[in-house]
């Protein structure tokens, strides 16, 4: 193509159906990435059309272009062309909710100040009509001075007209003058300031205006960085001068913009029968009712949790079976050796450890997308905001934290619904404390081996059950002060507004829902999955080398090629288990286990538990198989196998005392409850925060907390029970 690809950006308030429109316009082929240094997602699609290919960029929903955080500033800079490395915007499509036209025009008034071509896409025109709301689009277009297209993205109405409009606007060459909805004196002062500022790399005019308008806003913060103190004083002086002439700036801006919006809608809006919200009003009467609202919410959450926790077991078992099948196929065609071990224990196990998360991610995001798209999500946040206040978080953190009880990987990904960066990061950092399903095998093994089988009330309450429940509480009890502390230290700042729109209820759009599920699965596979896979290979290598595997491979070969019944297969297998245990002990991992024994001794652990804990840093459930190998039982044990339980009970220190007792079991469980033993979670945190800083922080503080927690548990409980 001779001309460079034109770039169209989609902007709009939340709840305007912008994502649906983006999906309808761009189809399935969407690329997501992060803008450098921030967590806002860059969603790029292509509008394929005989008239030429257009690049379509979707920005996060926003009520204004008044940035108050680095993330919001980046979104504005994409529009103003101030972001280095980003091509200029050729056209802005502002998606407007037709039922809330006047409020949505607040954002439109800011967009028209940028001096770029703008199209208004008046979405949800069908709901406006069904409410008896008439909008005169031609008159609105004439008032605004930009094309207006009425459409319904969910019903695919008016889409072709919008596409044609986009192409027509892109071919127009006329320069566009920025509109001036604020008092003229304000712009004159700004121009004076820019003309006399003597700054070499001043941002675009709009951002300078924002720096003057938004006291303590992000535009001001950024601008001040490049200013001398004299220039900063000039900025404050100009603001004071404007305020002395016009009044407080925040009031001036909002009064002028709403007055402007009122002028634009004069003679445009007509109502036939009083605008009613009957279905929403009726549903809210139940869904946020004092009793029914909470009851329905609890049931719904229980159902979602049940599905992620229990039902996803079916596809997960299938993935496990596929993994076993592949392994056996490889073992059938390859002789035992390093390459085979790399393939089966490294590659196949590594791919399996990535794919195994997909069922939970898909299911959670299916629920999230449905709840979000039908309008319930905002109500859920409304219902539990008070409870989440305990964590110093808002109601929007509830679902991500709850789903982390099944698995922190989808839980961390689900924090994208929290638009405030500090709340989101605090939620991400405490999500791994929620006891995920991978911790359960560890708890079950320790409880069934070392917690006395005591029960009360005719077997209804058992000590084992209480201990298990206690383990689930440990995480929550630690998460509350941690989140609170994070919000007071690393993530402190201006209190985030909770102010949340409760949109009209609607039937979810299946296409939008499926896309959301597909996007999250793809994002996980491509951007976290590759790292998780690489990590699994590295871990395999540390557990394999440097040890002598000759005898081990020889024994495997003998066992696999054995045809005669007279072969001593039983004794070969026993020897193989011992040789494997020795190999693990001699590997880098085993040596590390020995090296850290002095450190884990105060927790009541011996080096074998140390190796088990080390080996389970990539994934905590690995400890069961590792303990199986160390105790020469082979790697194929599970938490219910009697062999492992009795091996643990029989384990002795050199002086004959048993290694494991109740305090040791409790200390192991507390360690596993608090430790960040999950490479997948850490790498998803890296992806979601777009920085290595946060996963490293998570790892360090969780490991420290786990160590201290296990130490206190052991020292206290061994004095109690010992």
């Amino acid at each position: 193509m001779s001309t460079p690809t034109r770039r169209v950006v989609l902007v709009g308030n939340p709840n305007t159906g912008k994502s649906t429109l983006f999906g309808v316009l761009s189809g399935m082929n969407v690329r997501t990435a992060n803008y450098p240094g921030v967590t806002i997602e860059k969603k790029v699609g292509w509008l394929a059309d005989p008239r030429g290919v257009v690049e379509l960029v979707d920005l996060p929903g926003t009520y204004s272009l008044s940035p108050r955080s680095p993330d919001e500033l980046v979104a504005v800079e994409v529009l103003t062309g101030d972001l280095p490395g980003e091509p200029d915007v050729d056209l802005i499509v502002c998606v407007v909710n037709a039922t809330l036209l006047r409020r949505n025009l607040f954002l439109v008034s800011q967009l028209l100040e940028l001096g770029k071509p703008v199209i208004v896409a008046l979405n949800m025109i069908d709901s406006a009509r069904s409410r008896g709301l008439h909008i005169d689009c031609e008159r609105l277009a004439a008032n605004l001075g930009v094309p207006v297209f009425a459409l319904s993205a969910s019903r695919r109405e008016g889409i072709e007209e919008l596409k044609t409009g986009i192409h027509t606007e892109l071919t127009r060459q006329a320069a566009i003058a920025p509109q001036r909805p604020l008092p003229e004196r304000f712009y004159e002062h700004c121009e004076d300031f820019i003309a006399s500022s003597e700054l070499p790399d001043l941002p675009s005019r709009y951002l300078v205006e924002r720096a003057i308008l938004d006291r303590g806003g992000e535009a001001e913060r950024q601008l001040r960085k490049s200013m001398s103190s004299a220039q900063q004083d000039r900025l404050l002086q100009i603001r004071e001068r404007i305020e002395s002439e016009l009044g407080p700036l925040s009031d001036v801006e909002c009064d002028s913009r709403y007055a402007w919006a009122k002028r634009q809608t004069e003679g445009v809006l007509g109502t036939s029968e009083g605008a009613s919200h009957r279905p929403t009003q009726w549903l809210d009467g139940i869904l946020i009712h004092r009793v029914w609202g909470l009851a329905i919410f609890t049931l719904l959450m229980f159902f979602i949790f049940q599905v992620i926790y229990a039902w996803s077991g079916i596809p997960m078992d299938a993935i496990g079976a596929a993994q076993d099948f592949l392994t056996s196929q490889v073992e059938a065609v390859m002789a035992p050796g390093t390459l085979r071990s790399l393939l089966t224990d490294g590659v196949i196990a590594g791919v399996g450890s990535v794919v195994i998360f997909l069922p939970q991610i898909a299911m959670l995001f299916l629920f999230l997308a449905v709840l979000e798209d039908c309008g319930y999500m905002a109500r859920a946040a409304f219902l539990v905001d008070r409870v989440m206040g305990l964590f110093g978080l808002s109601g929007k953190s509830f679902l991500p934290l709850m789903s982390s009880f099944a698995c922190a990987v989808p839980g961390v990904m689900a924090t994208r619904v929290i638009e405030n960066r500090r709340d989101r990061f605090a939620t991400i950092l405490v999500a791994p404390f929620m006891s995920c399903s991978a911790r359960l095998p560890v708890y079950l093994l320790m409880i069934s081996a070392f917690v006395p089988a005591v029960s009360w009330a005719g077997g209804l309450i058992s000590l084992s059950g209480l201990v298990l429940m206690g383990m689930y509480f440990v995480g929550v009890v630690v998460a509350i002060p941690t989140a609170w502390l994070l919000k007071k230290t690393l993530l402190r700042g201006e209190a985030a507004p909770f102010v949340l729109e409760l949109p009209e209820y609607k039937i979810p759009d299946p296409w939008t829902v499926l896309r959301r599920v597909w996007d999250s699965c793809k994002a996980f596979l491509v951007r976290a999955g590759t790292l998780i896979f690489a990590a699994s290979i590295v871990i395999w290598a540390t557990a394999y080398w440097p040890a002598d595997h000759t005898r081990r491979h020889e024994l495997q070969r003998l066992i696999e090629s054995s045809t005669s019944d007279s072969d001593p297969i039983g004794s070969w297998q026993d020897e193989l288990k011992q040789v494997s245990a020795v190999a693990l002990e001699n590997s880098l991992l085993g040596r590390l286990g020995h090296a850290i024994e002095p450190i884990v001794r105060p927790l009541g652990w011996d080096w074998k538990i140390g190796v088990g804990a080390l080996a389970s840093f990539p994934a905590r459930e690995v400890i069961i198989a590792t303990l199986g190998t160390i105790y020469s039982l082979g790697g194929d044990v599970d938490e219910e196998s009697d062999g492992l339980i009795s091996a643990l009970r029989d384990a002795r220190w050199p002086d004959g005392r048993p290694v494991y007792n109740l305090p040791v079991a409790l200390s192991i469980m507390v360690f596993f409850a608090l430790c960040a033993q999950c490479v997948s979670t850490l790498l998803v945190i890296r992806r979601e925060t777009n920085s290595w800083r946060w996963p490293i922080l998570s790892f360090v503080y969780m490991t420290l907390l786990a160590y201290v927690g296990a130490l206190v548990t052991y020292q206290v409980s061994s004095r109690w029970f010992g």
């Binding site: 009520y63 204004s64 008044s66 108050r68 039922t99 809330l100 006047r102 409020r103 607040f106 954002l107 938004d214 006291r215 303590g216 001001e220 404050l236 603001r239 009044g247 407080p248 700036l249 925040s250 009031d251 801006e253 909002c254 009064d255 709403y258 009122k262 109502t271 605008a275 919200h277 929403t280 809210d284 946020i288 009712h289 004092r290 009793v291 609202g293 909470l294 905002a378 946040a381 409304f382 219902l383 905001d385 008070r386 409870v387 206040g389 109601g395 201006e494 209190a495 985030a496 507004p497 909770f498 102010v499 949340l500 729109e501 409760l502 949109p503």
Partner: protein, 106 residues
Amino acid sequence: MLTLDQLRPGEVGEIFRIEGCDGISCRLREMGFVPGEAVRFLSKAPLGDPLSCLIQGSRIALRGSEARRVFLAPPGGSTQPSLSGAASGFPEPSGRCGSGCQQMGR
């Protein structure tokens, strides 16, 4: 002075001013909380906080601490507000932004 959180479910008030110049007050203004606009109190969340209200045709949930920044005109003071939002005459901007705001940019 009456604030939004003091209304009872179903009651309507007319906004007189929004306190503050920080992120919360900006967000309130962007979402339609502007002087002269009518606001209807809808309900409180089951645990007492946040609360929900209707403004400019949209339902907004906000915390009690945020609703306390929304000052309402004394009942019967100005013309009767209408929910369609046709604001009639803004109140005088006397002291609409507290003097505390002047310090915040420094």
